[in-house]
Every structure is written in C-alpha cells, then in structure tokens.
C-alpha cells in the first residue's frame, strides 16, 4: 500500500494533536489511545521495512507533486530505524502508565501523551523524508516537543534544564535553518537528491563550505557531542524517566542521523573536499568517547551517570562516521539503533528503581538488587550491553568501528574505543556493586517492592532485545549495507 509511508508520520502527529480533545472528559482514555497509535506506527514501520528489504529504497511524492516541485518522502534502509523508534516509544508508553500517574496531575496526563505522540511522529517523519526543509521541520517538531516533555512534571531543576535545552536547541536550529537557506540560494531546490546533483557543478567553495560546516555544527549540538554537550545531562537526568528514555535513546540521534542524511549532498562537490571534515568528526568523536566516560565516573546520581554515557556513545557514532569507510560507517549506523535499545533499557530500569524507592544516588540505593531482582537483572543486562560485551547488542557496533579504525590505518582510534569501553565498565560496575554487594544504607530499602507489571514488562522486553539484538547482530548490518555503500566514503 502506497499510503503507509505518508501515514507513518502523519497519523501520530494528528493523533497527538487530537489527544487532549479525545481525553477531555476521560483522562484515562489518553494512554490506550496513544498505545493504539504507537502500535499502528510499529505495524507501518515493519511494513515499510519489509518493502525496503524486498524492493530497495522507494519514494512517495506528497500530493502527487513529483520532485523537485513537491515534497518527497523517501524510505531507504536507514529509515528502517523507524521500527526501533516505534518499538521504544511503544514500550515507553506502556511504562508511562504507573510512572506518570504519580508524577503528574490527572488533568495533565492527556497533554503528556499528546506530546509523546507528536515526538514520535516527528522522529518517524525525520527518518523518512527526502526533503531538506521537511527534515528541518520534523527536527523542530521533535525538539519543541522534547523541551516541553523535559519540563512536563515540573520540579525544581527540570524547568531550568528545559530552558537550557531550549536555548541550545534554538541556536542550533537557527544555524541549520540559515545553512538550508544558503543551499537553497545556491541550488534553487530543497530536495536533498536534487541539491546533491546541482552542487556537483557548483563553483563557489565558500558558501558550500559554510553550509557544510554550519549543518555539521548545528546537528552535533542536537546530538550533544562533547564539547557541545552542556545542555544534555541536566535535561536528561531531571526529566521524568520515560521521557529520559525517549530523549537519550531516540531524540539525540536526530543529530547524528541528520549527518548521514546531509553528507551525501556534498559527495559529488568538486570544489570542497569532505575528507578534512571527516577527520575533524573522527577526532571529536574520540574526544567525546573519553570525555563522556570520564565525566560519568564522577557522578553519584544514577540518571546523571546514564546521561553522560549517552555523550560517550554519541562519540562512538560520530567516530564511526568520521572514519569514512564501509566498516566504520556500518558500525555507526547500527549503533544508532543499538544504543537506542540499550539506553531505553537503562533509563527505564533506573526509572523503575527510582519510582519504587524514591532514591536516586548510588549510596542510597545500596542493596536494591535484593528487593527488585527482575528490574536489577534487566539493568545488569543493559550495563553489559552498553559496555559492549558480546553477545549483547552493544558489541556489533564496537566490533565494526574497531575494524573500521584498523582499515583506515588508525589503530589509535581502536585503542580509544576500547579504552572508552573499559572506562564505561568501571563506572557501571559501581552501580552493580552498590545494588548487589553492599548492605543497604537505609532501613527502608528492605520494604521496597518490585516494580508493577506495566513497568517491569517493558524493561524486561528491552533487556531481552539487548540480548537478541546482539545475537542477530548481522541482520541490521546487512540491512543497511546498501545505504552505507551510497554514502560518500562508505562505498
């Protein structure tokens, strides 16, 4: 069916906008409604992925207007990440039931679900569009809904964190919009494939270089690559845990995914070479891996630890893109999806623990492994995944990245990669130590009970995905193979 593609993004956006109206009389309706929509998006994403596997990339001209006049929606192998997006969002919705009932007033619940659905629609739209301006619009939908989601539960830190996030996001958005304007002025089109074709014959290096650098910088701010990360830790740690999971697993990926989308536009340009840009990306990625891991080491708050490790993991992805060979970019591509699964597991598990105990520092949470065995088991699986031990889902990405570093003749990057993994292990071992091997520092810990089923189930499903995704790690790599080959440097 041709309409799956436009509807995949449109349905959650419209349904999200309608949620407050639908749930006006009965706030309890909001969650089932949102769940149904997420399930539908998942079905659509699976359908679309099936088609891309069978037929290769395909397009849908919006309103019947073919490019370059109309907006082109395009589903290629990278877009298959929509499956992961829908899955994580769906599990977050399931999880939100018991969690948000405590965190929010009942009358605000519909607004929360509305924002989550809009966020989901924005993400799906972002990965399925072939139009540069459209890409920007979806990015803004994702960003604006994210700012609101951070602040949704109120509290002391969250509104400030949301404001900081908003400032960083707004500046980077303005930069990206400006660069899109430059590209439009140069080529007269906004379709990414067309821009690529027309830039090939462009002769002025300065504006192209400006656009390339500006887009890169703007997108890297969205991804919180060190040293552009300052907005992330507070925003991700102070948001309600299901929101943290969405932000850390999916929303930060907008930046790195955007890089994979905009770089092909500059592939055929004669007057500007991409190689120096890739070199900068590789170094920034390596820096981010180490810096994120080191910063995480000094945290006591488990959600802050998780937030800093996101910075480290974004470093892996950017390093992989910067290596500019097939293996490195494959590693980056699959780590985008794999890290989403891992980080969602970790944030939801940590959220369940915080929800049940009311505590969030390592010291106060000592001994929680004995009273919440299943949640902590899932958390442990997530920990081993984020370190990248085989056969978990964290391993394939690191494997490809390290092979890519060797192929690029840069064994130093392979060493940095592994050093990052060891550092990560050091700080996550502290979590496991506190949870399992330290006697409780507070008496109240003994009366804590395991999380309710609606929270436990998504966490366990995600933990199972952490294992399954590693064991079946070659499928995603094979899936995105053709898309990698089309990237500049990836062939």
């Amino acid at each position: 069916m041709e309409l799956w593609l436009p509807l995949a993004a449109a349905v959650p956006l419209v349904a999200g906008a309608l949620t407050p109206a639908i749930a006006r009389r009965h706030p309890g309706l909001a969650r089932p409604w949102a769940l149904a929509v997420a399930a539908w998006v998942l079905a659509a994403a699976v359908q679309l992925t099936r088609r891309v596997v069978l037929e290769g990339p395909f397009s849908y001209p919006l309103g019947g207007w073919a490019r370059p006049y109309g907006i082109e929606l395009r589903f290629d192998e990278f877009s298959a990440v929509a499956v992961v997006i829908a899955m994580v969002a769906g599990l977050v919705l399931v999880y939100s039931g018991p969690y948000m009932r405590l965190a929010l007033r009942a009358t605000r619940l519909p607004w929360y679900y509305s924002l989550l659905l809009i966020n989901l629609g924005g993400l799906v739209g972002f990965v399925t569009t072939g139009d540069l301006f459209n890409l920007f619009v979806f990015m803004e939908i994702v960003s604006v809904s994210s700012y609101a989601l951070v602040a949704v539960a109120g509290g002391r830190i969250a509104p400030l964190a949301a404001f900081k996030y908003l400032m960083a996001g707004a500046v980077s958005s303005a930069l990206i919009l400006f660069c899109i304007g430059v590209l439009h002025a140069l080529t007269g089109t906004l379709n990414m494939a067309d821009i690529a074709a027309r830039l090939a014959t462009a002769e002025a290096p300065a504006p192209i270089l400006l656009a390339l650098a500006g887009l890169t910088a703007g997108l890297l701010v969205k991804s919180a690559l060190f040293p552009m990360h300052a907005w992330l830790p507070d925003a991700h740690a102070s948001a309600p845990s299901p929101v943290s999971a969405m932000l850390s697993a999916l929303v930060v990926k907008v930046g790195v995914f955007g890089l994979l989308r905009v770089y092909p536009m500059f592939a055929a340009v004669d007057v500007v070479r991409l190689a120096p840009m890739y070199e900068i990306l590789a170094w920034l990625g390596a820096l981010s891996i180490v810096a994120g891991a080191l910063l995480a080491l000094f945290q006591q708050d488990i959600k802050l630890m998780l937030a800093y490790s996101t910075i480290s993991n974004i470093g892996y992805i950017v390093l992989g893109i910067g290596l500019a060979n097939e293996l490195g970019m494959t590693g980056a591509g699959i780590h985008i999806a794999n890290h989403a699964i891992i980080k969602a597991t970790l944030f939801l598990a940590a959220g369940a623990i915080i929800h049940q105990t009311g505590r969030r520092t390592l010291h106060a949470l000592r001994g929680v492994g004995h009273v919440m065995p299943w949640t902590c088991l899932a958390l442990a699986v997530g920990v081993f995944s984020i370190v990248g031990l085989p056969p978990t889902v964290g391993f394939p990405g690191k494997w490809y990245l390290a092979l890519g570093a060797l192929e690029a003749g840069r064994p130093g990057f392979a060493v940095v990669l592994l050093a990052g993994a060891v550092l990560i292990f050091v700080y996550y071992i502290r979590i496991l130590n506190a949870f399992y091997f330290r006697s409780p520092s507070e008496v109240g810990m003994l009366s804590v009970r395991e999380a309710p089923v609606a929270m436990l189930l998504p966490v366990l499903v995600l933990a199972a995905l952490c294992l399954a995704g590693g064991l079946l790690g070659r499928w995603p790599a094979m899936l995105i193979g053709p898309a990698i080959a089309r990237l500049p440097g990836g062939g």
Binding site: F384, L389, P390, P391, P396, W399, Y400, A402, L403, L406, E407, P411, A414, V415, L418, A419, A421, V422, F425, V426, I429, N433, Y436, F437, R438, S439, G470, L471, L472, G473, R474, A477, M478
Partner: protein
C-alpha cells in the same frame, strides 16, 4: 574427522540451566544440593561420553549462530578442548561436594551456588570454543561470573580485592578484544580449526601488536608476572572459590587461551620464524623463579598457595613458548597435573580452616596427628609439585626438560631443577611441621574434617597419584594431550 554433535552444546548448557534453576529455587537448600550435584555429575558423564570418540580421532563440532558476518558462536571439541573440559568437569564434581560442606551455614548461598555453576558453564564454553570470538565471549562471562564469588563476604577487603580483580581482568579483556580485532583484520578469520591462521606477510609491526595484545590479554588470567597482582588479592574469597579460581576455571582459561594463541592463531612455525616466543619463555622463566621466592616468604597458607599457583602456571606458558612437541605435551598435561595437585592443597587449607580455624603456616605444628588423612593428601600434592617420580608433577618436568633439550635450550633444564628445589623449600617445611613437630597445645585426639570436605580431598589426591603412575593408560587424559600435540606439530 568432524562430527556434528549436540552434546558439546549440552555440556555448557547443563551448568547454565542448573544456575538458572538455583536462582529460581531460592532458599530451598535441599533441592539446591540435589540440583548442584546432579548437574555436576550429569555434565561429567556427558563429557566422558565424548571421550571414546575423541580418542578415536573424532572432532565434535556444533555451530550455534553466526551473529556477525564471518564470526559467530560455534563450538568444536578437539583434543585440547576435550582435555580441558574433562579436567574442569571432573574437578567441578569434587568442588561441588566440597562447597556443599564448606558453605554450610554461610550467607547468600543461592548466589554462591548459582554463580558457581555459571562459572563452570563458561569454562566448558571456553574449552569447546571453535573461534577466538566464542572464547572471548565466555572468557569475559567468566570474569563477570567470578566477581560475585570473589566479593562473596561483602567485607571492605573483599570488595577491594574484587575491584582489583576486575581492573586487571577487564584491562586484559580489552587488550584481548583489540588483539581479536587485529586477527580478524589480518587473517579474515578467528577460527581455531587450523594450526595457525595469521599470514606471515602481514608485517612484523602488526604481528607483534597482535602477539602482545593477545598474550597480554590472556596473560592476566594466566598470572604471568607482572600481571599477577589480582591473584593473591583474590585469596579473600571462600576456599572453594579459591580452588575454582586457581585450579579449575579462571587461571586455566588464561593458559588455555595462550595455548590456543600459540598453536591455533599464530601456529608454531610462524612463531618460530618471528622469534617472539623466546621472549615469552624468558618471562615465564622469570615468573617461575620470582613467584617461588615470594612464596617462600608467605606465612599465610592460602597466600603461599597463590604464589605457588603463579609459579606453576608459568610452566604451562613456558611449555607453550618452547614450541617443541615435547614441551607442548608438558604444557597440556600440566593443565591437569597442576589442577589436581593445587585443588588438593586448597581443599586441605579450607578443611584446616573450617575445623581448627588455623590459616597460618606456623600454626600447623603437629596438625598431621589430628588430621592424618587430610595431611596425607597434602603431602601427596606437595611431592607432586616438587616433582618426585611417580607423582603427577614429575611427568610435566620430564617432558618439559625433554622439550627444552629439543629446542636446544638446556638452561631451562637447570630452571626445572632450581624450581624443584624452591618447591621443596616451601612445601617440605609444612610437611615437616605437620608430621614431626608436637603441637603447641596438649595433644588433641584425631579430629578429621567432616566427610563432605575430606572425601573430595582424598579423591583429588588419589588422582594426583593416578596421573603420575599410569600415564600410558589409554582412557586417561594423557592420550588426549598426545593427540592435541600431534595436531599442533602437524603429525
């Protein structure tokens, strides 16, 4: 001849299933005992049932899944793997019986026996690994599964030892991962099915980096000096765990990995050509002497045992590094010889500690009169380490000396003699103290350790004698070792 057989998958699966059931059973002690023993015996029988085929030259294989292109989890029971699996599963039966007796009345027994079973599961996985990735996977799992056992007492000292253990082994693991990635990018395969996969024309820099990272990675668990620091620290663990660490699983995983690297990754011919092995031989020689000297100065019995282990392990490393068939034979058989003798000693140390509370060597005056059977077992093990003929240790020294002469390195024969003298210098005083000195207090009546501790000790000691006397009996592990060496030497 390769035969597909599910039994080699069954062997690790039995222990794994046992561990899961132990966790699910919770506090039901009687069922836990039945389960632990039942699984140990079943697994022993399964591995034993593979022995006739293995002796007849069959190689059992089972490919589980290929989770990245070209690399996957797959099992292969060749002669060397069978040898290691047989030794570890025999010892698991003994250690389980012993642990049931030793851990009576202690805390967190569910965790203890669960992780204990997991350790043995991963050890068999290491033994049957078909490629470096599968080996690495189980090797890292072993690190993680032994950690809860090392910190079992949850005292600050235990946690400190646990941290040290993790720091050493995780850095080793990272080095190993790097080496594995180097092998994959140089050779394009990680398989152990060949007598060497690395191409000689790969360039000496890359080959040296591979050798250093792989040997360094495995060398941590093999406790080659100066990578041995974790081993004495880990003595804080309960005695069955020390026995497991020192005799069955952890250190043997290290030396087994070194054997695999020397024999199956590099291959004897390539290493002889490159000359790296002679450096390794000198490092091993240094470790043998230095660790013995340190052992002389230890008054704590378990610490003396730990340094003796470090010294004995380097026999295996030396045997592998000499690159001659006789030396390789010595290396393989010493896996069993050291294991049985060392586990006897640990059982004795634990039995003495449990029934008299004594942990220091100088307290042992006259202990032979109160615990005659226990100390008889200790004496047998001590004589084996010294290398008295008709004891297991002699076989190692004999073949290692022959191998050294084959390699034209007569000075290592002198090293054997020196090491025998040093072993005599730190074991015979204990034997003398135990039998020929009167106890400080009034003479106690015979007070042996309980049967659950005594019987495994005696069986292990009997095995030391058996290995020394009847090497030529075809169903003993020695013939497997010969088969392993024939493969390595290309005979």
């Amino acid at each position: 001849m390769d035969v597909i057989d599910l039994r080699i998958l069954l062997a690790p699966a039995i222990s794994f299933g046992c561990a899961v059931l132990i966790f699910l059973l919770g506090a039901r002690a009687r069922w836990r005992r039945v389960l632990a023993l039942g699984a140990a015996v079943t697994k022993f029988i399964v591995i034993l049932s593979l022995l006739p085929g293995s002796l007849a030259g069959k190689v059992y294989v089972f490919e589980v899944l290929e989770f990245l292109p070209g690399v996957g989890i797959s099992f292969r029971a060749d002669a060397l793997g069978m040898f290691f699996a047989l030794v570890s599963s025999t010892l698991w039966v003994l250690t389980t019986v012993y642990a049931i007796g030793y851990m009576k009345g202690r805390h967190a027994r569910v965790r203890f026996f669960g992780f204990f079973a997991l350790c043995v599961s991963t050890t068999v996985g290491i033994a049957f690994a078909e490629n470096l990735l599968t080996l690495f996977l189980f090797y890292e799992m072993l690190t993680i599964c032994t950690y809860p056992l090392v910190v079992h007492d949850e005292t600050p000292e235990a946690l400190r030892a646990g941290r040290k253990y993790l720091a050493y082994t995780l850095l080793g693991g990272a080095a190993l991962l790097l080496g594995m990635i180097l092998v994959q990018s140089l050779a394009g395969t990680l398989s152990f099915s060949h007598a060497g996969v690395l191409p000689a024309e790969a360039g000496s820099g890359a080959l040296l980096a591979t050798f250093v990272t792989l040997i360094g990675g495995f060398g941590v668990k093999a406790a080659i000096m100066p990578l041995h620091g974790w081993l004495p620290a880990a003595m804080v663990a309960p005695t069955p765990v020390s026995a497991l660490l020192h005799a069955v699983a952890v250190v043997k995983a290290g030396v087994f990995g070194i054997l695999r690297v020397v024999h199956n990754i590099f291959g004897v011919d390539l290493l002889a050509q490159l000359g790296y092995a002679s450096w390794l031989a000198w490092v091993a020689a240094f470790t043998i002497v230095a660790a013995s000297l340190i052992a002389l100065a230890q008054d704590n019995l378990k610490r003396r045992l730990a340094y003796s282990t470090i010294s004995q392990l380097s026999y295996i490393v030396l045997g592998a590094a000499l690159l001659t068939p006789f030396a390789a034979l010595a290396a393989v058989v010493h896996i069993a010889n050291q294991a049985f003798a060392k586990i006897t000693m640990f059982f004795v140390a634990g039995a003495i500690e449990r029934s008299t509370g004594k942990t220091q060597v100088h307290q042992l005056a006259g202990i032979g009169r109160t615990m005659p059977w226990t100390m008889a077992a200790f004496t047998i093990a001590a004589l084996s380490f010294i290398g008295v003929p008709l004891f297991a240790g002699f076989v190692t020294k004999w073949y290692l000396s022959l191998g050294a002469l084959q390699a034209g390195a007569w000075w290592f024969v002198l090293l054997m003699i020196l090491s025998a003298l040093l072993n005599a210098a730190y074991w015979l005083p204990i034997v003398y103290l135990a039998w020929f000195r009167t106890p400080a207090a009034e003479s106690a009546p015979i007070h042996e350790a309980e049967a659950l501790l005594l019987v495994p000790t005696l069986v292990a000691a009997a095995y030391v004698l058996l290995l020394g006397i009847s090497m030529q009996v075809s169903w003993l592990p020695f013939s497997l070792a010969q088969a392993a060496v024939r493969f390595v030497a290309g005979l």
